[in-house]
Point group: C3
Chain length 320, copies 3
């Protein structure tokens, strides 16, 4: 994805983890590390993006994701505008481009784009003016790169020896842009063993080609795992042919204390949120000592601040 970096190799847009240089991923995580101290202190604000304008362009509603980007931008002192565009079928490619051009003409510096269609953020980045950065906040089944970055940031904080880890991802891999981005990030950082566990109906065809080991039962997939990531089950999928019921899903793939016993003693449990208690995860596990689910949320702000600061800072000659 040459689109994501400028001629000096600096981050210009963040669209997908796929193809992103491991050094750049590490640089993002390092920058995020420097921002965690900002969010912990009393005055949680730095003037890095003062006078910059960030527009949250959400074609698909997601209050929580929107809030994390809004908070990240505000803590960098940017001005933030939220634009919730109803998922209207009348918004065709051309109109999308007109929307982009008009917002650019208002001297917007950054677009955070969420869209139900894969490739929407790429489309924006392809056509964006030189002064504009685009961040993908989730596009269709394709990618959700900031989520994957905050996940590997959280893992690295707890287990810096990434090259020794076994990571197990449980759940609806087929429809999950999160899983796709996580696998790319984990591989880029040298995690040697990535396992996916899901019923056959929730696995993409040829998923092995992504470099993962496939399990249809959860217990063996958890055996000796260092990190367990439960994915959110989209309830709307339950009504389709993919799955019989939530109770049935929990019976076979729910993360219970018993099943967690298969993993390593110091294994950590992750979830992109919001969690469905008693569906993907038992409350005892979600609220238990191994859960780092809330740390993920906290780290999400720092990671988004890092990506914003790096992309808007990548244009040469601009005062930082």
């Amino acid at each position: 994805m040459d689109l994501q970096v400028d001629e000096s190799g600096r981050l210009r847009h963040l669209l997908t983890i796929e193809g992103l240089a491991p050094d750049l991923i590490t640089a993002i995580l390092d920058t995020a590390g420097s921002f965690t101290s900002v969010t912990e202190r009393s005055v949680k604000k730095v003037p890095l993006l003062r006078g910059k304008t960030v527009v949250n362009l959400f074609f698909e509603p997601s209050t929580r994701t929107r809030m994390t980007f809004e908070l990240a931008a505000k803590r960098l002192s940017a001005d933030v505008l939220n634009l919730d565009i109803e998922h209207s079928s009348t918004r065709k490619g051309e109109t999308l481009l007109d929307t982009l051009r008009n917002l650019e003409a208002m001297q917007v510096d950054m677009f955070v784009v969420r869209h139900s269609q894969s490739g929407a953020a790429h489309f924006f980045a392809q056509h964006a003016a030189p002064h504009v950065s685009v961040l993908n906040a989730g596009d269709g089944y394709h990618a959700h790169p900031t989520q994957a970055l905050l996940d590997v940031f959280t893992i690295r904080t707890r287990r810096p020896d990434l090259e020794n880890l076994v990571v197990t991802i449980v759940g609806d891999i087929l429809h999950s842009r999160v899983a796709r981005s996580q696998i790319h990030a984990l591989r880029a950082l040298g995690v040697p063993e990535i396992r996916v566990a899901a019923p056959a109906t929730l696995l993409p065809r040829n998923v092995e080609e992504m470099g993962v080991q496939v399990y249809h039962r959860l217990e063996p997939a958890l055996q000796g795992a260092d990190v367990i990531i439960a994915l959110r089950l989209q309830r709307e999928r339950m009504r389709g042919a993919h799955l019989p019921s939530e109770a049935e899903y929990f019976r076979y793939y729910g993360l219970t204390p018993e099943r967690l016993g298969k993993a390593r003693d110091d294994a950590i449990v992750m979830h992109p949120g919001p969690i469905n208690r008693g569906v993907e995860i038992a409350s005892e596990v979600a609220d238990g000592p191994r859960s780092v689910i809330l740390q993920q949320v906290t780290n999400g702000i720092a990671v988004r601040m890092a990506v914003m600061a790096m992309t808007l800072g990548s244009r040469g000659g601009e005062p930082r």
Copy 2:
């Protein structure tokens, strides 16, 4: 309510007036007094809460109340996020707690909570992390403490001799969290005579136990009153069995110039707004020289600034 103060007796949350020490109420009013000069000057901003994040968590819509908290927070230089959560029946206790935990993980410093269920703000405060303050912006029929505080602030500004006053509250006492909070505040500040006037169907049982005198007719309740507070009639209640019609209500309980003649010559007229002209109050009275209804709105900003500054400033060691 020990929940509301920290071990040094400083304000930590504001949930209800009931049980709040009179000294603390007075301290809030004094602090609010110092903020009235801020809102009157040209640059209406002080940097007290710079870098703090305030989330307006409104489970029950109220544009006007939300705006007053948003303005108060912005004038203290805080970052404000508005989260309007539809009054969904699926939001059960546990999910509410997950919402709280997630927002806390985003390093939010303050929640302004409005909810149709009594006790919602208490629930948040009970479970809040040590660094977080909760302000109740109205919960069910229970409490609306900032409204009561701005009311007593307004009364005190006009009539500092609180221990000599007769205050009459007219209207739907039964369903009014405002009335309940007002009565607690007036009693705490030593107002010797508080009267309530309403039809029997709009009075709580055993209302006398709150330390008020009950009147079923308005005229005697106004006799010699120093302060008259008309409550807003919720129109949706009119369709129930409580009241025959708006016109009928106005006929017996509407505040007219004639009825106002029963009160003291320098009596002031108050209303929490928005007013229903010709229902609770005649336009001549609402817009007349005795009305302090708009001053209440102005004072509401200063009082909310005071509560925000005091609660977020109560954590020791933080730079103010």
Copy 3:
């Protein structure tokens, strides 16, 4: 409109271009010119309105217009609140006044008002407190003064010799508050020849009295024109009796490259946006070298910043 200027002749409200002194229009354009450099630099913020509160009071939804005012206010460092009020028939004059009075009591400094009824902004300005400014962001079929100002600003930037120009406005003049305001602005600045081109059903009666030349066919109206302004066709009008179809409209009034050939070689093409491609304008023209449509958007921010700074700065004795 004495309402728009204070006793010293300085801008107090902006409600309509009609009756605004040419000197004042020129002063606004000059001030806007000084702000274009602000929006072009890296830190696009000046502290002129720090501590001021601007409320976008939109009774008629318009995300794009709202955004331009919000951005303008934020780049002047004002606090901005958005109040989207559904176009409810229950909002009668008196209630509108109560809304105004309440917001004023919250020490709001400026209202940006958009309303489907002509005269709404005037109503607010008539009743506004001395410290409050009102900007008309579009009222019914009446006026849209900031749009007209950004249009003449854009024309003046490209063609400073306004007194030599031929300007052609094409489209639905009848229902267009934009056209009405443009004609007033162009005349005030001494543009000698203003042409309007539209089917008879989309022209106001006695339109000649506005000082324009009327054409029912587009080609002769474009002959020798320096500036061509296509108006947006409101699609909801298409279903009425005014027009047969969009295709039919384009056939006779659409701005095509061929038709553009009639105009002067250096003619510029404008449109208030959002454009309907293939209805008012061919894509080749909208995206072509003569189009200044996106520059209009950029200039719109600077013009709104100018109007905001001038009106809020018009009160004597306030620190700027």
